[in-house]
């Protein structure tokens, strides 16, 4: 395809590229600002308004954060919940999706309807809270995992993928006498690694980013994940939010700018580390998700 080489078209291209560059910069600057700020000395932060490259590189803020174990413990909780939760969700999703991908399964349509209906209507906050409480999950890590273990959305994506696998492979395994469990473990799962990777990343990001469930279900400060600690240190402290009842007696004076920034960085970095992997898979996932269930 040949390109339009007229002046108007060239101007259009230049303006477009300039605007997109600005959009890209505006998207990134807040992250860069926070990242740079977390390595800047208090004095320099106070003196200059905007630091992109600190003149004096310092780990002061990080040293302060890790001088108590609040943040490291919360990181531990988040990592643990993310790993355990992703594994648990993945097992539930694969099993259920595989079962539902079989067309001769009696009751399959009804179960699919029940699953999809949960995307349209829900009991809401209060009944869910009562159920979790009655199950004795309050103040347990399980409360951060089990109540949101299965996403109907991910389940449907996975089921659609399984349904589109060539049937011949499974048929020949069946003739060789393999049962459903064997077929799933030996044939279906190895063939489905791309979709499994996508769904795992979706679940992992979801678990890492979870905060509201912790606010609701975890009263024990020592069991809070990093997102809740971040909310305490930055959001509640910055705004002196009306809802300080969560604080209990723990209210502390708003921490220094640099310390806030360092906590943000700590909570952000794990996502940035997996981002390249995410990026490889998510567009596919997003497209799969937009397909009718």
């Amino acid at each position: 395809m040949t390109y339009d080489k007229s002046w108007g078209s060239k101007i259009f291209d230049s303006v477009n590229i300039i605007l997109l560059s600005i959009i890209g910069l505006v998207t990134l600057i807040p992250f860069v600002y926070v990242f740079a700020g977390s390595f800047t000395t208090v004095a320099e932060l106070a003196e200059k308004q905007f630091v992109i490259i600190p003149t004096q590189f310092t780990f002061e803020a990080y040293r302060y954060i890790f001088s108590t174990n609040t943040v490291s413990r919360a990181m531990g909780v988040s990592v643990g919940v993310t790993l355990a939760g992703t594994l648990f969700s993945l097992i539930l999703t694969i099993l259920m999706a595989y079962g539902l991908s079989k067309r001769d399964l009696v009751g399959r349509r009804l179960i699919m309807f029940l699953v999809i209906f949960t995307m349209l209507f829900n009991g809401g906050l209060i009944p869910s809270f009562i159920i979790v409480k009655e199950l004795g999950l309050i103040d347990t890590y399980a409360a951060l995992i089990i109540p949101s273990a299965l996403s109907a959305f991910n389940l449907i994506i996975m089921r659609n993928f399984f349904q589109n696998l060539p049937e011949g492979l499974e048929e020949s395994a069946k003739i060789d006498g393999a049962g459903s469990w064997n077929i799933l473990l030996r044939i279906v799962i190895p063939l489905s690694m791309p979709v499994i990777a996508t769904i795992s990343l979706f679940y992992a990001v979801g678990y890492w980013n979870t905060y509201f469930q912790a606010v609701m279900y975890i009263n024990d400060v020592t069991k809070w994940p990093i997102q809740v600690i971040l909310r305490q240190i930055v959001i509640l402290a910055s705004a002196l939010t009306g809802d300080t009842s969560d604080f209990g007696g723990d209210y502390v004076a708003p921490p220094e700018q640099g310390i806030k920034m360092a906590v943000i960085v700590i909570a952000t970095v794990p996502i940035l580390v997996v981002y390249p992997f995410l990026q490889k898979h998510f567009t596919k996932g997003a497209m799969l998700g937009s397909i009718k269930g």
């Binding site: 890209g24 106070a46 971040l230």
Partner: protein
Amino acid sequence: MSQPSTSTATLKSNSDLMKRILKNTALYFMILPGLLYFFIFKYLPMFGLVIAFQDYKPYKGFFNSEWVGFAHFERLFSESDFLMILSNTLILFLMNIVIYFPVPIILALMLNEVRLQLFKRFIQTVVYIPHFMSWVIIVSISFVMLSTDRGIINELFVAMGWEKVNFLMNSDWFRPMYIVQIIWREAGWGTIIYLAAITAVDPQLYEAARMDGAGRFRQIWHITLPAIRSVIVILLLLKIGDVLELGFEHIFLLLNAMNREVGEIFDTYVYTAGLKQGQFSYSAAIGFFKSLVGLVLIMIANWLAKRFGEEGIY
């Protein structure tokens, strides 16, 4: 005994059914944990909505609490907060439609016009990032930047000789902050579906248009936009069906005593009335009302999408 033939027929088909079920026992075992999950965490709470019609007391439980009919709903509709919440919801919803909704479309069109594939991919990589950050991170970064205590925005204001603005505690700034954060987090991600729809356009159309002397804007207007029209309509309808889903986790973080009158929505009200003040039944009724209206709106949106000749969503 009167109709032996039919009863044997049903018996036979029953045993067929049993055979089909038994043949798949392993599959049912696989489905069971997921089914239990949906039952316990999705369907039990729906049944739990009965407390909206009770005066639920935790120590009495679902079965022994007193029934009060529609008393909680009557209270909700007569509460002065109800109008405030309704208007907050509608205003935030309109901002979503009018301000946020066009942004991913425009951004997708701009990205589509880029000829340097490397540059295009780079910008895409960048604008997708915020989507993966939690609302806590998005709001935290905004607060650090907007703070009156050495936040960069206010420092710039000071450098320009302007006065500091207390963005976080001023109710006038709640809505702009809300919508800007949504744009920052979601606009890039929102382009994916439009960009995918655009790839279906036949490149020859552009060439033909150029032969006819159409400039770049006219090409976008007459070729690209019509190609994604149906996607736009579907997403718009879906968004309208989602009026009540304004992002509870997001708003919950922004809300404080100073901006409550512009920021309180149904979900946050349920949280405060229910979990903070312990009015379980009353707040369950509010939640029920919200879920019900949401369900009806989604059904209408889906019906409209089908009438529009699209496939429908559910």
